[in-house]
C-alpha cells in the first residue's frame, strides 16, 4: 500500500499544510500586528489612551475568538468564495484561518507590548520621542523576544487549525487524515499524517524559540 501515489499524496499534503500555515500566519500578522499595537497603546495605561478605540477592538477580538473555528469555517464561506473563488482547498482555508488567527495574534502582540518596562517607555517620552518612534524603536524593539515567541505559538496554533479544516475539505494533512483514516479506515495513513504534523510542529517551534533567544539582549 506504500506505493508512490501515497507518498506523493503525503508530500503534497505536507506542502499544502505548510503553505496554509505560513501564509495564514503572515496575513494573520498583517491584520493582527497593527490591531495588537493599537490595543496596547490605546489601553488606559498605554501611551495614547483611548477608551473608545480600545473597547471596539477589544470587542471584535473577543467576538471572533469566542466562535469555534469549525463554525467560523462555515460561517465565512461567502467571504471565502468572494476572495478565493471557491470554498474548498488549501487557498480557501487561508481566509477563515486568517480571520480566526488575527484577533488571537492581536492579543498576543498586545500582551507582549504591555510587558515592555514602563520606565523605558517614559525614558523615550522624556526625550520627546513621538508615538511612532516609541512604537517602532521602543515597543517593537524591546518586545521582540516575546513577539517571536508569539509568532511561534501562532504558527503552532494555525497548524492545528489547518488540520481541522481538513474535515470540511480544506486540503493538506488534515484532509488526508480525515479521508483515509476516518472514511476509509486506513489507520496507518492517519498515524503517518499525525507524525508528520507533530514533526512539523516541533521543527517550527524549535526554530521560533531559537530565533527568539538569539535576539534577546537582556541576559548574558
Amino acid at each position: 500500500m506504500w506505493d508512490n501515489t501515497i507518498v506523493k499524496m503525503l508530500l503534497e499534503g505536507t506542502g499544502a499544510t505548510l503553505y496554509m500555515t505560513l501564509v495564514s500566519t503572515l496575513f494573520g500578522y498583517v491584520l493582527g500586528l497593527p490591531m495588537g499595537i493599537v490595543l496596547a497603546i490605546t489601553d488606559k495605561e498605554g501611551i495614547k489612551p483611548n477608551t473608545f478605540i480600545y473597547k471596539i477592538l477589544d470587542f471584535i477580538a473577543n467576538i471572533v475568538r469566542s466562535i469555534p473555528f469549525l463554525i467560523l469555517l462555515i460561517l465565512v464561506i461567502p467571504l471565502t468564495k468572494a476572495i478565493v473563488g471557491k470554498s474548498y482547498g488549501s487557498s480557501a482555508t487561508i481566509v477563515p484561518l486568517v480571520i480566526a488567527a488575527a484577533p488571537f495574534i492581536a492579543r498576543m502582540v498586545e500582551s507582549s507590548l504591555k510587558e515592555v518596562d514602563k520606565g523605558v517607555i517614559e525614558a523615550a517620552q522624556s526625550m520627546g520621542a513621538g508615538t511612532f518612534t516609541i512604537i517602532w524603536k521602543v515597543l517593537l524593539t524591546e518586545a521582540r523576544t516575546s513577539l517571536l515567541v508569539g509568532v511561534t505559538i501562532a504558527i503552532g496554533t494555525i497548524l492545528g487549525y489547518s488540520a481541522m479544516a481538513g474535515t470540511v475539505g480544506g486540503g493538506g494533512l488534515g484532509d488526508i487524515a480525515v479521508r483515509y483514516g476516518y472514511h476509509r479506515y486506513q489507520t496507518d495513513i492517519m498515524i503517518v499524517t499525525i507524525i508528520i504534523l507533530v514533526v512539523l510542529a516541533q521543527i517550527l517551534q524549535g526554530l521560533g524559540m531559537m530565533f527568539s533567544k538569539k535576539l534577546d539582549r537582556r541576559h548574558v
Binding site: 520606565g119 517620552q125 522624556s126 520627546g128 520621542a129 513621538g130 524593539t141 539582549r217 537582556r218 548574558v220
Partner: protein, 258 residues
C-alpha cells in the same frame, strides 16, 4: 540666586492622584545655570514634582512655565518641550536591546533629526570624557549600575537640554558606584548646567546645590542656601529630617570607639 534669567517657573502647582493631594501649592523658580536640590522624606512628592515638569504626570491646577511659556496646557507640544528638559531616572531605563551608542543616539537622530555621523561623534566625545568610550558597543546588561547611569546621563545630555532633572539617580546604586555618578553631575554643575536634583545624598546636596528646597507632605517648607539649610534649618520638620542623617553618623563614631 542673584537676579538671573528665570528658566523655569512653577506657580501654585497642585497634583492629586485621586486619593489626596501629593503636591500642594508648590511655587518655585529655577534660574539659568542654577542647581536646585530638592530633599525631603520618602513619599513627600519630590519625584512627582520632577515628573510634572516634563509632563509625565498630569497636574490638577497651577502652571509651569519654561522660558516664559506655559507648558501645562492641553495644547502643549510635549515632544518639543521635552527636548528642552533632560531627565535621568533612578532605574537608569536604558533600552536593553540597544547598544550604548544606539541608546544615546535615539534622541538626537530619531527625535531631533540630527545627522547620525555628527551625533555619533559627539556621543563618542562625551563618552570619552566620562571614561566610557570602550563601552560604546556594549549592551546595558554588560554594564555596572554606575556605568548605566552615566550612560543615561549622556543620553539626556546629548539632546542639549536647557535644564536637567535628576530623579534619585544614585538610589539604586551600590555605594561604591554612587561617587562616579555624582562626579559627573558635579562636573555638569561646574560647567554651568541648569539642574534640578532629587537626592538623599546630603553631603552631595550640600556640595552641588545653589539652593536647597525642602519638601514635606507635598509642600515646600523651606528654601535656602545649602550653608544655611544644613547648619541652621528654620523649621522643626527640617531639623528632625536632618537629625535622622546625623544619627547615623553618631552611631558610626560610637562604633569606632569600641
Amino acid at each position: 540666586m542673584k537676579e538671573k534669567e528665570k528658566l523655569l517657573e512653577i506657580k501654585h502647582l497642585h497634583k492629586d492622584y485621586g486619593n489626596g493631594p501629593v503636591l500642594k501649592d508648590v511655587s518655585l523658580n529655577v534660574h539659568k545655570g542654577e542647581v536646585v536640590v530638592i530633599i525631603g522624606p520618602s513619599g513627600c512628592g519630590k519625584s512627582t514634582l520632577l515628573r510634572c515638569i516634563n509632563g509625565l504626570e498630569q497636574i490638577q491646577s497651577g502652571k509651569i512655565l519654561l522660558d516664559g511659556e506655559v507648558i501645562t496646557e492641553n495644547k502643549t507640544k510635549w515632544s518639543e518641550v521635552r527636548q528642552k528638559i533632560g531627565m535621568v531616572f533612578q532605574s537608569y531605563d536604558l533600552f536593553p536591546h540597544m547598544t550604548v551608542t544606539d541608546n544615546i543616539l535615539l534622541g538626537p537622530t530619531k527625535v531631533q533629526g540630527r545627522d547620525k555621523k555628527e551625533a555619533e561623534a559627539e556621543a563618542e566625545r562625551i563618552l570619552e570624557r566620562i571614561g566610557l568610550l570602550d563601552k560604546k558597543n556594549a549592551f546595558p546588561r554588560q554594564l555596572s549600575g554606575g556605568q548605566k547611569q552615566r550612560v543615561a546621563i549622556v543620553r539626556a545630555l546629548i539632546m542639549k537640554p536647557e535644564i536637567m532633572l535628576f530623579d534619585e539617580v544614585t538610589a539604586a546604586l551600590d555605594p561604591e558606584m554612587v561617587r562616579e555618578v555624582l562626579d559627573v553631575m558635579l562636573e555638569l554643575a561646574k560647567s554651568g548646567s541648569t539642574m534640578m536634583i532629587v537626592t538623599h545624598e546630603m553631603q552631595f546636596a550640600r556640595a552641588v546645590a545653589d539652593r536647597i528646597v525642602f519638601l514635606d507632605g507635598g509642600e515646600i517648607l523651606e528654601t535656602d542656601t545649602p550653608e544655611k539649610f544644613f547648619t541652621r534649618p528654620k523649621t522643626d520638620r527640617a531639623k528632625r529630617f536632618l537629625n535622622t542623617f546625623s544619627f547615623h553618623m553618631e552611631r558610626e563614631r560610637g562604633g569606632k570607639a569600641i
